[in-house]
């Protein structure tokens, strides 16, 4: 067996051990070493050279990246999640027929969808969705994300928040928490446009907070520009957008006349 592959496998085993111990720092450290080692394999994307060990290498690499993704969720690092997922994706999309599909594929894809939802990147969410085969939509993990998105779009925010209880995978919890905040931001945006002010109790209900403190805290953190006085929340009116631009009539007219004159001369 290829010594490099051996090295990687051994290192990966140590990584898994640390992972099982939940020793995240060691994991991260090992992971970056692993990634560097992976660059030595020519069979990995983007070159996809057909080496004798291609299958093993690909499978191992995919495994490593899957772990990396989950690890990033555990470390609550969204950037790392995106990075690792992007690197993992070619193994899902481009390796069909070389290595068998991974059991972790759908949970991770669902996780990614959820992340996009959390980050309110709806367009990318749909792009990803379109790339999935039809039968993938049947999968529980994917379905979960899709339903969430639908509720989100409908404005059925309560359903979104209650869905936290029915997560298909333990890693989803992190994102579900974040999602609640996304939902609140969305509501806040709408309220700002829709109301001049809201009474504290209405606002509490609207933002689905259980206590006034939570509301106060949220306002202080996210929207310091709002005023809380007289038992109501006053939204700062968004400034009127500028009046529509003037049409530069005179230049347009002179130019058109100029063209007409030139045309006449030329013919």
């Amino acid at each position: 067996m290829d010594p490099k592959l051996v090295e990687v496998t051994q290192l990966f085993a140590r990584f898994k051990a640390a992972y099982a111990r939940n020793d995240l720092d060691v994991c991260a450290n090992l992971l970056s070493q692993l990634k560097v080692l992976l660059t030595k394999f020519p069979s990995l994307p983007p070159s996809f050279q057909q080496t004798p060990n291609a299958v093993e290498e690909l499978t191992t690499a995919r495994d490593i990246y899957e772990h990396a993704v989950v690890l990033s969720v555990k470390m609550e690092d969204q950037d790392a999640f995106e990075r690792d997922f992007c690197q993992l994706k070619p193994y899902y999309m481009d390796t069909c027929g070389i290595i068998p599909p991974s059991p972790e594929e759908y949970p991770i894809l669902g996780l990614n969808l959820l992340r996009l939802l959390v980050q309110n990147r709806i367009a990318e969410f749909h792009t990803e969705l379109e790339l999935l085969p039809a039968k993938a939509l049947e999968n529980l993990c994917i379905k979960h994300a899709v339903e969430l998105e639908q509720s989100f779009m409908e404005g059925a925010y309560n359903r979104v928040l209650t869905a936290r209880q029915a997560v298909p995978h333990e890693t989803y919890v992190y994102f579900m928490d974040l999602l609640a905040k996304t939902v609140r931001d969305e509501i806040a945006g709408c309220s700002e446009k829709g109301y001049d002010f809201l009474s504290i109790s209405d606002a509490k209900q609207m933002f689905m907070f259980s206590s006034d403190q939570e509301l106060q805290q949220y306002i202080a953190e996210e929207h310091p520009e709002w005023d809380v006085k007289n038992g109501s929340v006053f939204f700062q009116k968004v400034k009127e957008s500028q009046p529509c631009k003037e049409i530069p009539a005179a230049p347009v007219i002179t130019q058109t006349l100029g063209y007409a004159r030139e045309l006449e001369r030329i013919v």
Binding site: P90, G97, I98, R265
Partner: protein, 1028 residues
């Protein structure tokens, strides 16, 4: 395992870029570099990340990052950004890579570098801050080209980038240095649009040439002429003359080639330098005596009938031998005198004259037809006919038609008389020795008051100018005196034009002062000519005299003077390109439309034959936007001058303009095509002109007819069938009683141009070496002024150059020498002499049968057969015996060679014995060809060879004479491979010897006119028509 996986997205790799670990970033960059061509859209969104990598000083693969960014920008079409990052990529950017990316960027880099260099050369203050990295890339590329043996590429790039050092390197390393050099010369003329830089390139080339063991002196001298370095040319010639016989031949050849470019001022300079050198090198006795004699000869021959250059040479050399001097030096002196004869233009003019005289095939019947069709009282058509005759016989010295129609001729009065007299100058063009004697009857007689009409006197001075155009050393003094001695404005007019022509481009201060005095009299007629004359004198000197002229143009009230000056100013900037820009700007911005009109000419002449984009752009702009019709017309016409080096382009460029609603623009378009495609017979040009010849506006028809004639000159019907159609159209217009005078005039002139110079000349604006022919261009420019002033029509004769191969031996005589033209003779033969149809229809006019005939003709056009029979009978009644015989002869001889046919018809002339001999030489050569249209033809020295025919010319390999320069046109010096055997000379010397004899005879004026002409270029006398 079987399926081959491919990446579907670069997002994975891009994500890797964000990784904290350096190795991962490196790996990502390397991967990106390999897939950038597939995923540049994805990568483009991450460019800022990669850029930041490049800018990160600590990142050790910055260059790789730069390369990736550069590639992405390239695919996005942002070449500027791409290039700047590619420069950042340093050595990673591989100039030898064979990819679109590398090619595109290299091209971009070169452009960038070249344009930078160009800018740097203009504004010296932003010194050399060219990006050294850019320079390195270009240099790497040049070196690679040189290494790979792609020398032409390297040379092109070096020239483009103004790296003369690299150019030199490329040329020197090239295995075929001569080829490379001539390639470079071509390159510099065609693609280097900046004049000063072109000079630099040429200077560099000359330098390389001189270091070679066997320099190509022909090319060097051409370059030097362009650079205007007579000293060096004189040196080279002198060295060659002192060398072997072959070297001397080469020197002669160089001299002929230089003469062909018609740069009088330069030639004079070379000649003077050679003069200056002589006493120092050779025995002072023979040395100073020779040139002295020679010039004396040249100066006096015009008055003394005895003068013949050939003779003069013989006597002087004889003298030289009498002195007890070193034979080598005698030889050298002899050669020197010969080369001075060539450089002065005398030799080539004399040979040309001989050629045109002996080969004259003009068709008098055409003229006769015109004469009879033209109404007597219509003076425009009358003088057009006279002009047409002059053009047809330009340089042939055959004035039979005039002699035969003295009474008819005398109808020309006033300015028509001026023109008619000037026409003689055209006919006798180049008759340097006899010129003044010929014109004597008309010239102002000193002392004899009221000798002749001022019109004929003025015309005669103009004629002298035409005879001596560009070779006026001998006549200049006389013209100046005439100018000073008169106060009649008509004579001043003629004298100014004459002086301008004779001292073309010499920038002689004294002459300038004389003409300026005339200008300041503020007489409209004289002033106009003075303006043009000053321009002619100062051609191409770009002297500050122009601003003086411009100032006066603003002062004067007379439109004519302004116009004359405007043209004059334009002439002074001839060929100066960018140097003229300020002046052009000044003129084209002027309030006065006449000066703007002059500005158009200035543009045309400054950028003549350069196809300079800027000039074309400017002209097109004026052509559609100026308020004055005159300016617009001229602007379009000027395109013809700018584009004459690429005649194929012109029809395309002016095709839209030729459909303009404005008749002036259409007229201009017609002439533009006429000028730039002159003598090419280009099919596109003819197609463009054809509809214009039947335009609704009369002057457009006129312009189109003249332009068509210029394009079709010397093409015959078997080359392009439309020539025949056009000839018939001309005839129809001339004979049509209801046709407008304007178009009739056009048709008459067109017939003249079509058969110009006895059908042996063409209009050529470029010499063989692609230099422009100054005289020809100037001639056409002034000719196009005939719109305002008919006498200027005669300037077209300056544009004519004989289509001949004339082989000369080391004594500058014509040995018997043959060569082959590998083409059907019919393609290039003379047009058939006018058919019986023409003659009879002309003759028929007065007869009673005519009307029925004409009807029959209109009813059934096509029964030519029966008509021919009938015509014969009518003809028999009305025609002189002589002509009938001629006709019968041509009928019977039927399939006889064209030489013969035309020989017998055109010449009642063929009676002189010498002439007859010459003809026989030709016809025997002709008869070697078998009857069914042969595919080749053997031509004998000197022969008529059309420009289009040149590519078919082959020299016979084992012939006795070998040409010094294998280019098949013009004067060719022949090396004798059997110098010991006696040489057999062609007998065309005959006319020259006759010159002297008839010169004597001329004193006895009693000879019948026709006979005298038969004999030869006949001097003055007999037909002095109507002296008022």
């Amino acid at each position: 395992m079987a399926a081959v996986a491919t990446v579907s997205s670069a997002s994975g790799i891009l994500a890797m870029l964000q990784e904290p670990a350096e190795e991962l970033k490196l790996h990502a960059l390397a991967s990106l570099n390999s897939v950038v061509h597939l995923f540049y859209p994805e990568i483009s969104t991450s460019i800022p990340t990669i850029e930041s990598l490049y800018e990160d000083e600590e990142f050790d693969q910055r260059q790789l990052a730069a390369l990736v960014v550069s590639k992405v920008f390239y695919y996005l079409g942002e070449l500027n950004d791409s290039l700047s990052y590619a420069l950042g990529a340093g050595p990673l950017f591989d100039v030898s890579e064979d990819s679109d990316y590398a090619h595109a960027l290299l091209a971009k880099a070169l452009d960038e570098y070249a344009s930078f260099k160009t800018r740097a050369s203009k504004a010296t203050e932003e010194e050399e801050n060219v990006d050294p990295r850019l320079e390195t890339i270009v240099e790497r590329m040049l070196e690679k080209c040189i290494l790979d043996g792609k020398y032409q590429q390297a040379m092109g790039m070096a020239v483009e980038c103004r790296r003369l050092d690299k150019l030199e390197e490329a040329i020197v390393q090239c295995d075929n240095i001569h080829g490379a050099l001539s390639y470079c010369i071509n390159l510099s003329h065609q693609y280097v649009s900046h004049r000063e830089y072109r000079c630099e390139v040429l200077r560099c080339l000359v330098k390389i040439y001189q270091t070679l063991p066997h320099p190509d002196y022909l090319s060097i001298c051409q370059c030097l002429m362009f650079l205007g370095e007579p000293e060096t040319v004189a040196n080279i010639l002198d060295t060659l003359l002192s060398g072997s016989k072959d070297d001397a031949l080469l020197a002669y050849q160089i001299a002929f080639d230089l003469v062909e470019n018609e740069n009088q001022a330069f030639l004079l300079n070379v000649k003077n330098r050679l003069d200056a050198r002589t006493p120092a090198q050779s025995n002072p006795d023979s040395g100073s005596a020779l040139p002295g004699d020679q010039t004396a000869n040249l100066g006096t021959t015009s008055t003394e009938p005895a003068g013949d250059v050939q003779m003069g040479d013989d006597t002087t050399t004889a003298n030289g031998n009498a002195h007890p001097v070193d034979p080598n030096e005698t030889v050298h002196a002899d050669r020197l005198s010969k080369i001075k004869g060539i450089l002065s233009g005398e030799k080539s003019i004399q040979l040309t004259l001989q050629f045109l005289y002996t080969h004259n095939r003009s068709d008098l019947l055409i003229l006769k037809t015109i004469k009879q069709a033209v109404e007597m009282r219509n003076s425009v058509c009358h003088s057009a006919t006279i002009c047409s005759n002059a053009i047809m016989h330009a340089g042939t010295t055959v004035d039979t038609f005039l002699r035969e129609n003295l009474e008819w001729l005398s109808r020309a009065t006033n300015w028509a008389k001026f023109s008619a007299t000037a026409g003689l100058g055209v006919i006798h063009r180049g008759h340097l020795q006899q010129g003044r004697a010929l014109m004597a009857p008309y010239l102002p007689q000193s002392g004899a008051v009221g000798g002749g009409s001022p019109y004929s006197e003025g015309g005669a001075l103009y004629a002298l100018g035409l005879i001596h155009a560009n070779h006026g050393e001998g006549i200049k003094q006389f013209l100046r005196e005439s100018l000073r001695n008169t106060s009649a404005e008509v004579i001043q007019h003629g004298a100014c034009l004459g002086l301008g022509l004779a001292s073309l481009g010499t920038a002689d201060e004294e002459v300038y002062e004389d003409i300026k005095n005339v200008l300041y009299t503020d007489s409209a007629v004289a002033g106009e000519a003075a303006g043009i004359g000053m321009g002619l004198l100062m051609v191409g000197t770009a002297s500050e005299k122009a601003s003086e002229m411009l100032a006066y143009a603003h002062d004067t009230q007379h439109e004519k003077i302004i116009r004359g000056l405007a043209l004059g100013i334009a002439l002074t900037v001839y060929g100066r390109e960018e140097e003229a820009d300020t002046l052009i700007e000044q003129m084209t911005r002027d309030q006065d439309p006449i000066l703007r009109y002059g500005g158009m000419y200035a543009l045309a002449l400054a950028y003549r034959g350069t196809a300079n984009n800027k000039a074309i752009h400017q002209l097109l702009h004026f052509a559609v936007s100026d308020v004055s019709d005159d300016v617009r017309r001229t602007a379009v016409m000027a395109l013809g001058f700018v584009l004459y080096n690429e005649p194929e382009q012109t029809p395309r460029i002016v095709s839209l303009l030729s459909e303009s609603y404005n008749p002036h623009v259409r007229y201009g378009a017609a002439l533009a095509v006429g000028i730039s495609c002159a003598g090419t017979g280009l099919s596109d040009a003819i197609s463009l002109l054809e509809p214009l010849t039947s335009d609704v506006v009369d002057f457009v028809r006129q312009g189109a007819l003249i332009a068509m004639a210029m394009v079709m000159i010397q093409t015959n019907e078997s080359f392009d069938s439309r020539v025949g159609t056009f000839r018939r159209q001309l005839e129809k217009i001339i004979l049509d009683k209801h046709e407008d005078t304007m178009s009739k005039m056009g048709a008459i002139l067109a017939s003249g141009i079509l058969d110009a110079g006895g059908r042996n000349v063409t209009i050529k604006l470029l010499s063989r070496n692609k230099h422009d022919k100054l005289t020809a261009v100037i001639g056409l420019a002034v000719f196009s002024q005939f719109w305002y002033w008919y006498p200027l029509l005669y300037f077209i004769s300056l544009a004519f150059s004989p289509t001949a191969i004339i082989g000369l031996n080391s004594d500058l005589e014509l040995p018997k020498f043959e060569f082959v033209s590998h083409a059907k003779p019919s393609l290039f033969e003379y047009p058939k002499p006018t058919t019986t149809q023409t003659t009879t229809s002309a003759v028929k006019l007065p007869t009673a049968i005519l009307s029925t005939y004409a009807k029959a003709k209109s009813r059934a056009k096509k029964d030519a057969e029966s008509k021919a029979n009938l015509e014969k009978t009518t003809e028999a009644e009305s025609k002189a015996n002589q002509e009938k015989a001629t006709d019968a002869e041509s009928k019977t001889s039927g399939e006889k060679t064209p030489e013969d046919v035309s020989g017998s018809t055109s010449a009642k002339a063929a009676k002189s014995q010498e002439d007859g001999d010459a003809m026989q030489v030709d016809s025997t050569a002709e008869k070697k060809a078998p009857e069914p249209e042969p595919t080749f033809q053997i031509l004998a020295n000197p022969a008529r060879v059309l420009p289009a025919q040149e590519k078919f010319i082959k020299f016979i390999e084992d012939s006795r004479y070998v040409p010094v320069r294998p280019a098949p046109s013009g004067f060719i010096l022949l090396r004798d491979t059997q110098p010991t055997e006696p040489e057999e000379l062609v007998l065309t010397d005959a006319p020259a010897t006759v010159v002297s004899s008839t010169g004597n005879a001329a004193a006895a004026a009693g000879q019948p006119a026709a006979m005298a002409v038969d004999d030869e270029p006949q001097p003055p006398q007999p037909f002095e028509y109507n002296t008022l």
